[in-house]
Structure formats: C-alpha cells, structure tokens
C-alpha cells in the first residue's frame, strides 16, 4: 500500500503538503517504521542465521527499504538500504575488520561478552544516535511536532528526542560531543534538510556493529512524499572509517489513527549491566 503511494508521489511530484502557521510544510503526526538489525546484507549474526533471514524476509515482504532512487521508473523498488546496488558500505580495510569484530562480539549470549564495548549501545539503552534514531525498531513510533521555528522528532524507543532549529545558528563548539549529535535544519521545498555534527563517536548505525568516529557528519533529507509517507535519505560521511560518503535510505509511514507513544523505560528494565559487568 505504502509502496504504491510512495511511487505515485515519486512519479507525480504534484503532492502539496499543507503548511503550518509559520509556513513549514506540515508533516506533523505519528509515524512507524524501521529496522536496525543490519544495514548491510549477509550479516550472519548467529549460528542459526536468524538475522540473515530477517533481512531477506524484510526485503521480500516490504521491499521499500527506502524511496525508489531518483530517476527510477514507476514500479521500481529499492532492495538495498544503501546507494550501493548490493547494499554494502564503503569501509576502509581497518574499519571492515573492526566491524567484523564488533559483529562477532554480538553473536550469542551477551552474558558471554568479553567486554561491554562489543555490545550494541542500543542494547545498553544508550541513545541510538543519528541516523539510527530514524529506524531503531519497527515496533515503536515516532511523533513529529512543528512548533514555530523548529522540527521536533520524538522517538518512542528509549524516549529519545531531537530538537532541530530552523534558524541559521551555528553548530555548538566542537568541544561538545553528543550522542544524538547537534542538528540544524532548513526546508528545501517539501524536503527537510538537517545537518548533524558533534557526534561523540560512540553510537552504532545498526545492531551489526556499523560504527563510526567523532568525525561523523550526516546530512539528512526528510521528503514528504505524500500524506502518509516520509522518505528518509542520509548522506554519511566519516573520513576515518569510509572510503567515500555513502547514502542510507529508510521510510517513515504514518501510524494508524489514535496511536499514542507510551513510555519506553529501557534502562530501568535492562539487566544487561548486571549480567555483563557484575557477573
């Protein structure tokens, strides 16, 4: 359903989003969507192949991991979550090795983990960071508010929030490093463009150890495709880790009417710290 409407919007760029009182294209509301098991395919994360199956089922059942690529014909679907046809990420050799190590650290029972550093920060109830906060878990919602001068994105998972000011204030000092980065936005037509910097380098982009450093710079594009769909595209840059900038795609679908976000008290219910550090 959503896939069809997204393509309609892609091929008939006549959809006009309503406007907020301060003139922003209005995308306020509740959304669902996302999966951060693994951005790259072929990640056999445990001996049963569970994550690979999730990945391929995900593609088979919901092939629209992102909006169709620009210039694609109607009916085209994006089977890769990145701008590479095979869904890969342009790792530098050392970084590919490190990712492998992190991913292997995630295999099996976390109680056997050698170190907390090989356990997904999201599993430790730390903030998901950007871009992952846009696709953390499919079973949690997002709420977008647009008070004058801002776009606010609240995530149900772990009660994260992003405050995106739309004025031209500069980023905070490079001495300030943030889990969720420092966001500055502007509207280009129906697309919200957000420049995100000041990362603390401690988040992963998925459960499979897709890491980065403090040099991470993300430019996000939230495109209002139609009344129920936001296409998400993030250009990921980190010269310490990748050989070139790459793009990541996701989709936010409007949630069913009446959806309310409930409190996700992640850390309060998490026994991981006790199990790994105090075992």
């Amino acid at each position: 359903m959503v896939q069809v409407s997204a393509q309609t919007a892609q091929t008939s760029p006549t959809f006009v989003a309503p406007r907020t009182p301060d003139g922003q294209p209005d995308m306020q509301g509740m959304y669902n969507g996302g999966d951060s098991t693994s951005i790259e395919p072929g990640i056999n994360m445990n001996p049963t192949g569970f994550y690979d199956r999730v990945w391929s089922q995900d593609r088979a059942q919901a092939p629209a991991a992102g909006a169709p690529p620009a210039g694609a014909q109607a009916g085209a679907v994006r089977r890769s979550r990145t701008d590479s046809p095979d869904g890969s990420i342009p790792w530098q050799p050392w970084a590919a090795a490190k990712k492998k190590e992190l991913r292997e650290g995630m295999i099996g029972d976390p109680r056997g983990a050698k170190s907390l550093d090989t356990i997904d920060p999201v599993g430790r109830c730390l903030p998901a960071g950007v871009p992952r906060s846009n696709y953390t878990y499919g079973y949690n919602g997002y709420q977008i508010l647009q008070p004058p001068g801002y776009v606010i994105i609240l995530s149900e998972w772990n009660h994260m929030y992003r405050i995106i000011p739309l004025d031209d204030r500069p980023h905070v000092s490079p001495k300030i490093r943030l889990w969720m980065g420092d966001s500055r936005g502007r509207w280009e037509g129906n697309t919200l463009v957000v420049d995100v910097s000041n990362s603390n380098g401690k988040t992963w982009m998925d459960m499979a150890g897709t890491f980065h450093t403090e040099a991470l710079h993300v430019v996000e594009r939230y495109s209002i495709l139609d009344a129920s769909t936001i296409g998400y595209e993030a250009t990921i840059e980190d010269p310490n880790v990748f050989t070139k900038p790459w793009k990541l795609f996701a989709t936010l679908n409007r949630a069913e009417a009446g959806y309310e976000m409930y409190e996700y008290a992640c850390h309060e219910g998490n026994r991981l710290l006790d199990n790994v550090l105090l075992k």
């Binding site: 009182p21 301060d22 306020q28 907390l116 430790r124 109830c125 730390l126 903030p127 709420q143 508010l145 647009q146 008070p147 004058p148 801002y150 606010i152 609240l154 772990n158 009660h159 994260m160 929030y161 405050i163 000011p165 204030r169 905070v172 300030i176 943030l178 889990w179 969720m180 401690k202 309310e260 976000m261 409930y262 409190e263 008290a265 850390h267 309060e268 710290l273 550090l277 105090l278």
Partner: protein, 255 residues
C-alpha cells in the same frame, strides 16, 4: 526601494501586532506573547534555581548539599505515621537508595526541579517537554483524551492537559511507586496523582505548582510551588546528560 519596503512593514505590523501589543493577563500582569492559537507562549528553555532536588522541605547544608528553604506550601509534607518512618529510612540510605543513583527516570514533579534545563514546545494539540537530564520527555495531550485505563504505569506518569484561562493545567496519573520526590527520600505510592499548573508570570518566569495526592501515603493533599526561570543566554540550547553512560563507567571502574 522605499515603495518596496512599505508593504513589508505593513505586513509586519498586521502579523506581529498581536505580539507587540501585549494583552493583559488574568491577574493584571502583562503577557508578552501568545502562540498562533492565542495561548500564553510558554515555549523556551527553563530551569529552576533552588535546592528542591536535594530536599523539597526546609533543610540545612551538608557536604555537597546546599541549605535551602522548602518548596512545600505550609512547610511540611503531611505523611501518614508509617510513611514518615519510611521516609526517614530512605534518608539514611539516600546515597545508594535514591532511584537517581541508578539513573532511573526521575518521575514528575522531580524532573522539573533537577538542576538541568528543559524546553517547552507548544502546538494546538500538544505540549511537549524535553528534558536535558537523561533525555526524558513528556507529551502532554490537550485533546480531552483520558489517561490509559487499567493497570498500566509509567515512571513519568501519563500527562493530559488543558488550558484554565492562562494557566496550563496538567493532570498526571498512571505512576509506578519507584520514584522519589528528592534525594532526601520523600516518596509516594503508585496511587500518586499530580496536578501541575504552569502560569506565565512575566515573559521570563513561569510560576509552577504541583498538587500532590496519594491517599496511601499522605493524610491530605499538599502542594509545592516554585518559579521556573527562562534561560536567557544568547546561545542556550539543550545538551545531554546521559546518566546511563556514566553509570556504566562507574561499574567498569569501581573505586
């Protein structure tokens, strides 16, 4: 040039007029701005300047704790006798027993008077509050909706609001019994019911009141009140205090 500028000026007066010529609030004080739907504009970054986070009652100083006059109206919290005894137990073990020492969500109203800023955002249907401390959030529904039914509880409660004249009144229910009001061990049960009032006193001050009801713990309703001050620094914005990350460090490197 002049001909071009004039319509813009006229536009600015028409659009901004209601903001420039401030209406007079219920108690005669001047409100400087309203949202497009005519409500007092509470938006901005706010923070308390008091010692309620340590103890909401009158207290002397101790190591690392500034002395302070209480924020409880009438001075003392009307505990039932068993509950006063329990509060004293909490106080004796506060260093480790305070839920904040485990980085748990602070609950309402405690989140309001932690020494961290928070930001209020308003739309006609919602007031959202984002807190710097452990990235806590509250969504306050203004749509006449009800609290969730049944035995569903939240650390931060469930918030439903309405405008009573120029005051934002928030009814907060569906609490668990795990949070404290302060580091001195003042506490409540899962029967806690809080009614908050946010009233803009002047452009840079909100008067905040929280009426506390919990028939299992207190002998009557009681109220705390305090001003919230607007953070006026030119470049102020919320940053992060990621408590869980520091807890991890503490556990990895025990003293």
């Amino acid at each position: 040039m002049k001909g071009r500028r004039r319509p813009a000026t006229r536009f600015a007066i028409v659009v901004l007029g209601p903001l420039l010529f401030a209406p007079v609030g219920a108690h005669g004080q001047t409100l400087t701005s309203r949202t497009p739907d005519g409500k007092p504009n509470l938006q901005g970054i706010w923070q308390v300047l008091n010692t309620a986070a340590w103890d909401i009652e009158d207290h002397g100083a101790a190591a690392g704790i500034p002395a302070g006059q209480g924020v409880v109206e009438g001075g003392e919290i009307p505990y039932q006798p068993w509950a006063l005894a329990k509060k004293k137990e909490h106080l004796a073990q506060s260093q480790t027993a305070d839920p904040l020492s485990k980085c748990y969500l602070p609950g309402v109203p405690r989140i309001t008077y932690l020494p961290f800023p928070f930001q209020i955002f308003q739309t006609p249907k919602y007031v959202a509050i984002t807190y710097e401390y452990t990235h806590a959030t509250r969504m306050i529904y203004l749509d006449d909706s009800k609290h969730p039914e049944g035995a569903i509880d939240f650390w931060m409660g469930d918030s439903r609001g309405r405008w009573d004249g120029d005051s934002l009144v928030v009814d907060v229910a569906n609490f668990n019994d795990q949070t404290w009001f302060d580091k001195a061990g003042n506490f409540h049960s899962e029967a806690l019911h809080v009614i908050e009032r946010y009233t803009l006193k002047d452009p840079n001050t909100i008067m905040y009141e929280a009426t506390i009801e919990d028939p299992k713990v207190f002998s009557r309703l009681w109220k705390m009140s305090m001003p919230l001050y607007r953070r006026l620094e030119r470049n102020v914005q919320l940053l992060e205090y990621e408590c869980v990350a520091y807890l991890e460090e503490q556990l990895r490197n025990p003293k």
